[in-house]
Amino acid sequence: MKIVVLVKQVFDKDSNINVSGDGVLTNREDLTLSTNESDAYALEEALQIKEKNGGEVIVVSVGNDSVLTVIKDGLAKGADRGLHVKIDNEESLDALDLAKLIHASIKDENIDMVLSGLQSDDKGNGQTGILLAELMNLSHASLVMGTEIQDDNSIRVKRELEGGWFQWTDLSLPTSLTIQSGINKPRYSSLRGIMMMKKKPIDVKSAEDLGFTALQKSKVMKMYIPEKTKETVYIEGSVNEIVDQLMDKFANEIKIF
């Protein structure tokens, strides 16, 4: 089983982001970078599949040199090799460009599976893994909460549906799965793992190497912190009048019906 795991480096979930009036991050140096949460679960799932079925796990991350941290963390936890797709303006790529870039970087690998987190904690597009499946002609499933390899050609996955329901579905391999947080318990990096990581290879491919130039299809127009507002309305009158007014507000203002 050759498994590619897509890992993204994002600002720590609890970061207090400060944005200036013109939409520029003002406290970048105070922010902690970490592995995107659901990507950590995708990595763990890949490692467990490898441990059970044998094979190889390749960690892929797109971005500047800072993403080497998340690649190395993946290697320390047990992945076999890393692939750094080097690009300085990762933030301005749209999901399709990102998928194309990744596709170009791994198309020569004879892969069985691509695992990625359901969505990133920063942009939250949730598209990369699915678009990649399309580009590479792979089967795909999103919101995956469980995996069972059936044989060399098929995998059964458990998908999360709405309202607490789950769906089991069989997919042919190769496949691309986007993994929901909570599917497993990501492991802790041991010092032994960190020592071994130093001997594992990390390939570097730049966007130019892969034949991409001047990738920039999206641009951040404005960034701002959502304003929190609070309004208290007193509804007065008889019981019937209050109920009528409440129903009206539910239906037309809060729109819960």
Binding site: D14, T32, R187, Y188, S190, L191, K199
Partner: protein, 670 residues
């Protein structure tokens, strides 16, 4: 001096004695098994070692414990009685043949005769007390028989009966000799002399050789099999305490991970990180296990054992010995040490409070052994406790185990409009206030930090804080076995501290205090670190603070392990409290206080994960406080504050009780 008579000790006895000695020496090979252990840097000095062996070995200084009074007296009687008789026997071994006769007393030399009978009666009295304790009246928790590794020939009661036979047999043999030989000084052997009157001369004459031989054979048998019985501790302990450097008690050895990582010859597949098998320990740690007497005091006082957790410190030590003997002498069953004989659950239950080491009469270092095995679990296996792994990752990412943002390091002050001097701006300052992660981020401890600042400002101390430059000291990480993370944090903090000038570091957190003052020196950070209790006491002594004496009611103080047992600071916090007590107030000393204080449950990284077995340690401590009738509880530790505050709420006492740090108590009276 009585004339030396070559009495009738037959040559056969000497032959048997040498055979017995030979078997004893063969059995002593147990002591040499520790050679499989690693070398360790352990500066020894001759006089220190001699002092240790006389004071803690022969003198049995730490056998005395106010928590085990009966057992202490019992052991003194047996131990000193036994040592005296060993001395007597050794002398007699020579004088019986007239060897060194000019220099040595004989059995009939009055003082020697008196001494020997006293030794005998002490031994018998001690043995009777022990039999009474074991079978008739059990005054305290008895040692659980846990004889892993060395076996327990004759059993717990059997060896006592053996000692009794030796004692009584000695007196009978002596009585027979006195009755038959009638030396002039017979009455100095006051017990034997009294017994000699019980039977007729003729009977004694007939019995004398039988009594003598049976006593001789019993004694030789005893000596030859000693290392196979519980009594082996008598020898092993003397050697262990003699080789103990008490300055290194509880010291966690640095692993120098950074250097290890840079070593090109290091093979990550082969290297042992932490202790997974007995040969990963140092020889001294192995000798500790060989010396364990299995008195079980450690397990009796252990907060984890006594609240029903799986951990028993004594079992940890005897398991290490079992593993050692299995690997060297082939005794017992083959098994892994960590994950086999000792489970991860046992290791994680330890709060590193040090109660076991405090109580151990033979100076065993339990906590470093447990930490070394935790290192194996974390560094080698990547298996910290599940909940704790989150706080370790948070510490790695954000520099604090709570996982709050580094950028918010000063929020506790800015939120209450405190404009604090920052060391990066001042560069040079008299006092650096190390706030610690709890003071920074934990809401309850933020009040303590604010109080410390009020005190410093009120006493006009020239101080500053590090602000964003401060990160976790790594105390929890280190005790959770994450030496790599600890080393990284230590190096980072030392680099920061070394870039500024200050005279003193003060902190309200005993964990930060212990780490910076006792552990950073191993990594090149040497500072004058003062805990806030001592600092405040000094300010009070110098008249720089004049708090109102208005603390009344039933007041008590809970000793933090890392302030008390680990750093011997017991008086300062009490003196600080004393400065504000009213005449009418009632200060209550808890039953388990000072060096026998009961842990709050948070030490050893246990702040960050929960062992759900049995009772909660903090709730048990709170129950002890409630029983004492105290309603105002003072602490001087950030973790104790969190744990006791939580336990108070669990017990539904938040309307009747107040828990405050000594800094808060002083600050609100300024």
């Amino acid at each position: 001096m009585a004339e030396h008579v070559v009495h009738s000790t037959p040559t056969l006895f000497y032959v048997l004695a040498f055979v017995a000695m030979g078997y004893l020496l063969y059995n002593l090979r147990r002591l040499f098994t520790v050679q499989i252990g690693k070398a360790e840097e352990r500066p020894l000095d001759f006089f220190g070692q001699l002092y240790n062996s006389l004071s803690f070995g022969v003198g049995q200084r730490k056998v005395y414990s106010k928590r085990f009074t009966y057992a202490s007296i019992m052991h003194f009687l047996m131990g000193w009685g036994f040592i005296e008789l060993l001395f007597a026997t050794t002398v007699d071994f020579f004088t019986a043949r007239g060897w060194f006769a000019t220099y040595l007393p004989t059995m009939d030399t009055p003082w020697f005769a008196f001494l020997n009978d006293t030794g005998g009666i002490m031994l018998i009295a001690g043995v009777v007390m022990a039999l009474f304790r074991r079978h008739l009246n059990i005054p305290e928790k008895l040692p659980q028989s846990n004889f892993k590794g060395r076996g327990n020939l004759f059993g717990d009661t059997g060896i006592l009966l053996f000692l009794l036979i030796l004692g009584v047999g000695g007196f009978l043999a002596e009585a027979a000799r006195l009755a038959v030989e009638r030396p002039e000084t017979a009455q100095y052997s006051y017990i034997g002399y009294a017994i000699s009157h019980l039977l007729s001369f003729d009977t004694w004459v007939i019995m004398k050789p039988n009594l003598w031989w049976s006593h001789a054979i019993a004694s030789l048998l005893f000596i030859s099999v000693l290392p196979m019985t519980k009594m082996f501790h008598a020898l092993a302990v003397i050697i262990n305490v003699a080789l103990t450097n008490r300055k290194l008690r509880g010291h966690l050895r640095p692993m120098n991970v950074t250097a290890l990582m840079e070593d090109p010859n290091m093979d990550p597949d082969e290297i042992s990180l932490g202790v997974g098998k007995s040969s990963d320990f140092t020889w001294k740690q192995l000798l500790d296990s060989v010396a364990c007497t299995e008195c079980s005091r450690c397990s009796t006082v252990c907060p984890a054992s006594s609240t029903g957790k799986l951990l028993s410190p004594m079992k940890i030590i005897t398991d290490i010995r079992a593993d050692l003997y299995q690997n060297t002498l082939g005794f017992g069953e083959e098994s892994d040490l960590v994950g086999g004989r000792i489970s991860a659950e046992e290791l994680w239950a330890c709060t590193t409070c040090g109660a076991c080491m405090e109580e151990c009469p033979v100076l065993i270092d339990h906590v470093p052994a447990i930490t070394d095995m935790r290192r194996h679990l974390v560094l080698s296996e990547g298996m910290p406790p599940e909940q704790a792994s989150e706080s370790l990752e948070a510490t790695m990412q954000n520099g604090n185990p709570w996982g709050f943002q580094k950028a918010d390091r000063l929020k506790w002050a800015t939120d209450v409009d405190l404009d604090l001097p920052i060391l990066a701006d001042k560069k040079e300052v008299d006092v650096l206030y190390w706030v610690g992660c709890a003071g920074t981020y934990d809401p309850r401890n933020q009040g303590v930090a604010q109080s410390v600042v009020k005190i410093l400002q009120s006493a006009e101390v020239n101080f500053a804080v590090l602000g964003k430059e401060e990160t976790c000291t790594g105390d929890s990480a280190r005790r959770l076995g994450e030496e790599y993370l600890f080393e990284t944090l230590a190096q980072e903090n030392i680099a920061t501290l070394n870039s500024y000038k200050f005279n003193t570091v003060i902190t309200a957190c005993p964990h930060c205090f212990n780490t910076i003052s006792n552990e950073y020196p191993d990594f090149g950070g040497n500072y004058n670190v003062v805990h806030h209790s001592e600092f405040i006491q000094q300010l009070l002594d110098d008249g720089k603070l004049n708090p109102e004496k208005s603390l009344d009611g039933n007041v008590t103080y809970h000793d933090a392990c890392y302030l008390g047992r680990h750093n011997d600071i017991y008086d300062a916090p009490r003196n600080v409290l004393d400065s504000v007590l009213t005449e009418e107030s009632n200060y209550i000393e808890l039953e388990q206080s000072k060096s026998s204080s009961f842990c709050c449950g948070a030490g050893g990284g246990n702040m960050w994960h929960e062992d759900n077995k049995g009772d909660r340690i903090n709730v048990t401590r709170m129950e002890q406080i409630i029983d004492s009738k105290a309603d105002k509880v003072a602490t001087a530790c950030s973790f104790c504050m969190i744990m006791l505050d939580d336990a108070m709420k669990v017990k539904g006492k938040e309307d009747e009780m107040v828990i405050q740090d000594i800094a808060e108590i002083i600050a609100e009276r300024l």
